[in-house]
Amino acid sequence: MQNNIAVRFENITKTFGSVKANNKISFDIRKGEILSLLGENGSGKTTLMNMLSGIYYPDEGEIFVDGKPVTITSPKDAFSCGIGMIHQHFKLIDVFSAAENIVLGLDEKGNYDRKKVAAKIKEICDRYGFNINPDRKVYDMTVSEKQTLEIVKVLYRGADILILDEPTAVLTPQETEKLFAVIRNMRDHGKSVVIITHKLHEVLSVSDRVAILRKGEYIGTVDTIDATEMTLTEMMVGKKIELDIERPEPENLREALSVRNLTCINDEGVKVLDSIEFSAYSGEILGIAGISGCGQKELLEAIAGLQKVYGGSIMFHPSDGKKSKELVGKTPRQIAKLGVSLSFVPEDRLGMGLVGSMGMTENMMLKSYNSGHSPFIATRKPKRLAEKIHDELEVVTPSLNTPVKKLSGGNVQKVLVGRELSCDPTVLMTAYAVRGLDINTSYAIYHLLNEQKKKGVAVIFVGEDLDVLLELSDRILVLCGGRVSGILDGRTTTKEEVGLLMTKLGGKVGADNE
């Protein structure tokens, strides 16, 4: 066996029910390299890495570490093979300090020696260029600090092979750069780093090699030097794809929604929205950027009548020149009764936008079931709508009555977006509309949003991928800590400018109270 191979997969297969998540996958991870594991959602990246880190156990095939076959049935086994995984959702105890989280679960004999642990943490930090305070509690940390802590935790256990699952999803561009620097540092110290991702430009900027999966199959590994966004997409999707998002010039701009001085306070008494002011115009796409949890969800919910508003106003201006209407203090049903056609694709699709245990037909009537005076539900119209969405958006489902929670994420989103677009909205709000969707579906959704914009709908698009926000939006509103830190022109601004506003309020540091 060659010496520079850290992990070798041989014919790994894993099935969930009838779905082959991984089918006979074989490839190597070398020592001292950064390998990107690229693939669309549902292509089996995370499943494969979960088998390496002991979360799942393969149905077939073998894993070799340092040339020896190993059986990994638990994360503990994985650590003893020198494998550590940093999950997308951090696995930290909030009320513990950094050091306590790091030693948690270790089987070391003797007492917990605070100084020794701190010294070892410091040594790791110095070597790779991290910066963490061992005594800081997790609940005081930012997302990026928590991620750093997860990485240190894995290194502390002596991992030589690190797996990072979508590490940049929650980071700002600046934090991402910092993370990449550390990752390069670790590579130079001989560690193998695997990054699970579907962001092409990150793949190109950080990795040495790229392994590509598609629908559970291993497609191939290429050296990053030889790759371009186009070739990678083609391998990932299986066909050529146009990666440009069109941005038609907005026409007939008319103020549709004006938000003034909007403030919301949550149950814990924290100001989740603080004096928000902006207008949304029909015929344009207003992008909303921000680190997750900066008030995006609350803002959309406040407009939809789902969030208790502490102060301020949300005025809706009808297109026919009738009197403007105040939306604050109204329930969703009252808003609908005012004749305000408001469509809302919430972030939590199955927890808010749809009923998971119901089929497509029953989900179609979620907002309209109450129309008419009969005490019985009418199923004919929703059924026709379901059929229409099923055909037009190519929803893959065994039947219109299959519970939507059994569908894949992309199909769930199509059902939700389809329903929300079907009622001819004046204002369309979407939160993370393409999260978890494959490239094809994502572009289909961008296209649908542009169509709405051309029809004169005021589109509010909360996004997490800055590249997409910059390409799609006419204007970008940046939220930071519940405040508007800036509204930028989508055509002229840069990623760095947006990134800076995401962390600082209009240039001033002010978001540290989170």
């Binding site: 156990y57 059986t71 049935t73 009923v355 009969s374």
Partner: protein, 368 residues
Amino acid sequence: MSNKNTQKDPFVRIVRRSSMPIPLAWTIRGISMLLALLLSALLIYTITKLDPIEVYKSMFNGVFGNKMRSWNTFKDVAFLLCISVGLAPAFKMRFWNIGAEGQVLMGGIATAACMLYLAALPTPLLFLCMIASSLLAGALWALIPAAFKANFGTNETLFTLMMNYVAIQITSFLVSKWENPFGSNTVGIINSLTRAGWFPSVGGQKYGLNVIIVLVLTVFMFIYLKYTKQGYEIAVVGESVNTARYAGINVKKTMIRTMLISGAVCGLAGFVAVSGASHTISVDTAGGRGFTAIIVAWLSKFNTPMMILVSLLIVFLENGADRIATDFGLNEHASEIISAIILFFVLGSEFFINYKLVFRSKREEVTE
């Protein structure tokens, strides 16, 4: 490929099934029932040296042996089914109403009070009073925890459970107030001479009306939950309160309305039990059926027609167990073991319907 044997694979792994055809699922349920009967037979033979076939025969005899026993069984099924149907809307809304026991008792008290104080009324009017008051009493008993949950977010499980004990205390107070004859500490058969407020016999069967009322109720509840707007609201609230709010459903209103219905139907079960069966009231009128109904509701996955089958099974097991206890002079607990084994297998079969086991040997066959 030489060192395959050095690997220590897990011996058995549990894997979720994607789906199973319905006939196969029922075959598995049937097989598990047979296995349960076999295991019980073995147990019966090893412990008591009785002929298991005879024991099963007597079990069946005790439940369906003659017309009277059959109707007695139907009466018990009707009562249990009525409470389960009452729990269905609440459970569908994920409101864990375990206060059926108390709601039944309150309905029973209301019925008994009408029978005692309004016996002079003409029969139709008396029945109207009994039905209305039992519905109201049950609904009130459910409204209290529902209102607290809707307004203050209290835990409904604890609250409804506690309400049971309050109902029991009220019953026991009223029993001492209404006791007849004096000093017996029981209410005795109410209106035993006039039979005022007793169910009339239907088609010569004194429990005929019980069965009819409950079956009609079951059909209505099925339609209500599946085809009405309110039924749809219940399903949405049960799945996710946020989705319900998003859809413009008034969650508070739905919660309170649904619990009123749930409690009212349980109250009506009390009416059926008092007016249609025992003609008396005591702390045992509900007899733990309010809790058994929870099992029925869950086993039938809140599906009302399925509840008919499940309550029949449970009543069959319980009454059958009683029968063999008397027929063979067994300790009552011995026969309860049999029903426990059968229930255990029925529940266990659901595991095999939803999951499959993958053994180590199978995996090696595949890889080689």
